[in-house]
Amino acid sequence: MVSPILELKNINKSFGHVQANKNINLTIKKGTIHGIIGENGAGKSTLMSIVYGLYQADTGSINVSGKEIKLRSPRDSIESGIGMVHQHFMLVENFTVIENIVLGFEGEFVFGKKLEKAKEDLQKLCETYKLNIDLDSVISDLSVGFRQRVEILKSLYRGAEIFILDEPTGVLTPQEVDELFKILRSLKEEGKTIVLITHKLNEIMDLTSEVSVMRQGEVVGHTKTTDTNKEKLAEMMVGRSVLLRLNKTEAKLGDVVFKVENLTVKDDLDVTRVKNVNFEIRSGEILGLAGVTGNGQTELLEALSGIRNVESGAIYLNDEKISDKDNLLDPRELKEKGLAHVPEDRQRMGLVTDFKAYENLIFGYHDQEPYSKSSILRDGDILSFSKKVMEEYDVRPRSPQLITSNFSGGNQQKIILSRELNENPKILLVGQPTRGVDIGAIEFIHQRLIDMRDKGAAILLVSVELDEVLSLSDRILVMFDGNIVGERVNKDVTDRDLGLLMAGVA
């Protein structure tokens, strides 16, 4: 029997009290696309980081083509033929494609012959796998989809036989995903092995021939993709049956609560990112804003929540003008008027991760009673409030004294949500509510948002997850290059249709 190309035996790895990987045994056959699926925090990324040499396993061994290898750093794994395409690309923005690829593997002091040779080799690889990359273009000019291809090409050039892709489709439009899958299939045809890490069931069903399911650090299942279906996989991932579709009643629309008129916003580099945007949200309505990352959603959210200056246009809350070019209410004044904001990036903006959980649970409300009186924080009241909401929102572990960075992504998100929803806002701005959140928590968060809607809140949901926008929104706007390029009522829309809008094609 041919030995499998990659074999993991009894891998254990823990971080603190959390055992991220428990006795993992995994066998990956040569020339297959092998899916690894699991919720966020199930230990997929940790496992792959061990395979790539970023972490060292506590125990266990790794065999490549039957030979045990010792991985001390990514360089060791590259030499063993393992290549990794990270969730966040590791490219130098102002270098050209070829410069990025030879980086660290130049082999000469002054570029000359070897660079020419490298270029030839790369051209050949591009043709074989139909990557269609211009080697001399600068990375910052390339779209996300192309940057990902550069990463793939980089691994190919370094002689990778096994490709690990960590959540490769998170930042892509549906069309770009199709392109990527074509490339992955052609890699497979050439005999390369691909390990696809994802939490998206569709991708597993589409692409893989075998799939391993991880839950809470363990491999809980391993099947041929043809022998399973989405429901079964989801159940294995969560450990119980899940509703893949939400129970949502028809929206009961009220008056217009929030209105945006001809809004234009610039980013820090003075580039116009939001261009003359108009929309309104009624109470009891969830307005979804779909779009590929970086098309102005971030700047829009920041302007609406009082963090970023408005270039022109105006924002109204209950017919009262809250912001225009000359006036900008700061986030605290907006909170008092009933606007709450769950920011897109919880660790960069929504939380002070070095703070204790109870300090984050009052973040932004810390100077209001009962949390503080005459500027002195009232620890007793804060702690009893914290215990109450942590119970209500099922934040685990329920320790208000724990430093926030020790909570998982989903629980961090629940901390933010509980804080922002607790004041019963009239208008709720939500950015990427479930990014990096496990399925169980996603279900919970979605249900909370719908409850808020049914209580009469107006909700703006900004998300790059099409499924999320489709399952929650009553109405959907699509943003492309700073413009609203389409509006659809959720009943009559397909993801195909939205995908074309998101790509700016339609």
Binding site: G306, P331, T353, G364, H366, L377
Partner: protein, 372 residues
């Protein structure tokens, strides 16, 4: 690359006690090497340090006097650091703070003594804070880094004070760069007077009731940083400015508040030196306490509970060190500047040199224990 240790599993006493202690011991070992190279016996030097700082009452009082100064400057650095501002201008802020003490005290000396003291403390705080305000404003509004501006402000403060002491506020009856003395009634009671009440005779000691002010300042800092909304907001800005902006907390305002409180605390050094010891402004009275305060704060992990013992340790080194220079001809005053430097190096710049090893050592030991 050493395997990263999970911070949540490191017991607090390892990172807050063992690590600083190991760093300190290493620094002392290196210092011992210096002393050995200089041709003296390190063990003898240690004996002298311990005797000098604890062995007799006068010496111990000196140790506490130094401690007082280090507590003020250490706390000053720590407060700014909680807002992630590296205020290395404690020296200049202390100097100007001293000016505040003198100007206030000499002008209100007709008032009842406790009120003069309170006003003088306010003067020290306000002058120190005022000197820190300019770099703070430049940082908050213009993004000029406080490390650069505060160190330049040390030089400006020093030059300004020399100018004032020579041309403006000098005691014109003599030629030295210092002012007239404050009236005797408003001097701080000293430890010597206090000891005399109990019939204990001491030759001289600069220790005075400023030591109590240092204890009060430590409580003030603890309360401010952890129990008030200002401390909360300062820490939020320090840890994550983006998040602070999101929550409606103004980085601009908090940078200025943190720096001013920091400068004010440094200014309190002037109380100890002027109301307690010199009773007038003498040129160069901050004598490097402002800089040593940085090491004190780093060693004390920016917490008053840590700063106090760290200040005490530096007090021992100062006092014991001068004892050593008396008795050992080969060891000069500068040798102890070098020793301080080594301690600052190990507890500041090289703070994380052995931290991962020490932490993973203890984490593994504890894990083994748990498994058994």
């Amino acid at each position: 690359m050493a395997a990263a240790v999970d911070k949540s599993r490191v017991p607090w006493w390892v990172s807050n006690l063992i690590v600083p202690l190991v760093n300190l011991i290493l620094a002392l070992l290196v210092s011992a090497l210096f002393i050995f190279i200089a041709g003296e016996n390190p063990i003898q030097a240690v004996k002298l340090i311990i005797y000098g700082s604890f062995g007799y009452l006068d010496g111990f009082a000196y140790t506490l006097y130094y401690t007082t100064n280090f507590v003020f400057t250490g706390l000053a650095f720590a407060v700014a650091f909680h807002c992630r501002l590296f205020n290395i201008g404690g020296e200049g802020q202390a100097y100007i703070g001293g000016l505040g003490v003198f100007l206030v005290a000499i002008n209100v000396s007709f008032l009842p003594v406790p009120i003069v003291w309170l006003l003088a403390i306010a003067g020290a705080f306000i002058f120190g804070a005022g000197w820190a305000f300019i770099p703070a404003y430049l940082q908050a509004k213009r993004g000029s880094h406080v490390v650069i501006t505060t160190i330049m402000f040390n030089f400006i403060a020093s030059s300004l004070m020399v100018f004032l002491l020579v041309d403006v506020i000098r005691d014109m009856k003599q030629m030295g760069p210092h002012t007239v003395a404050l009236p005797k009634e408003i001097w701080f009671p000293t430890f010597k007077e206090f000891a005399a009440l109990f019939g204990i005779k001491i030759r001289y000691s600069p220790l005075n009731i400023s030591f109590l002010l240092a204890i009060a300042a430590s409580f003030f800092v603890w309360f401010l940083v952890w129990k008030t909304k200002w401390g909360y907001e300062m820490r939020a800005v320090g840890h994550n400015m983006q998040a602070a902006i999101y929550a409606g907390i103004s980085p601009y305002k908090n940078i200025i508040i943190a720096m001013c409180i920091s400068g004010g605390l440094a200014g309190l050094l002037g109380i100890n030196e002027i109301l307690g010891v010199h009773h007038k402004i003498v040129a160069g009275f901050p004598a490097g306490y402002g800089f040593t305060g940085i090491a004190v704060a780093l060693m004390g992990r920016n917490h008053p509970i840590g700063i106090f013992p760290a200040a005490f340790l530096f007090g021992i080194l100062y006092q014991g060190g001068s004892e050593v220079t008396f008795d050992m001809p080969n060891i000069t005053r500068y040798m102890f500047v070098a020793v301080q430097g080594v301690i600052i190096l190990f507890s500041g710049a090289l703070e994380n040199l052995f931290r991962p090893q020490i932490e993973s050592f203890f984490v593994n030991r504890l894990k083994m224990k748990r498994e058994i």
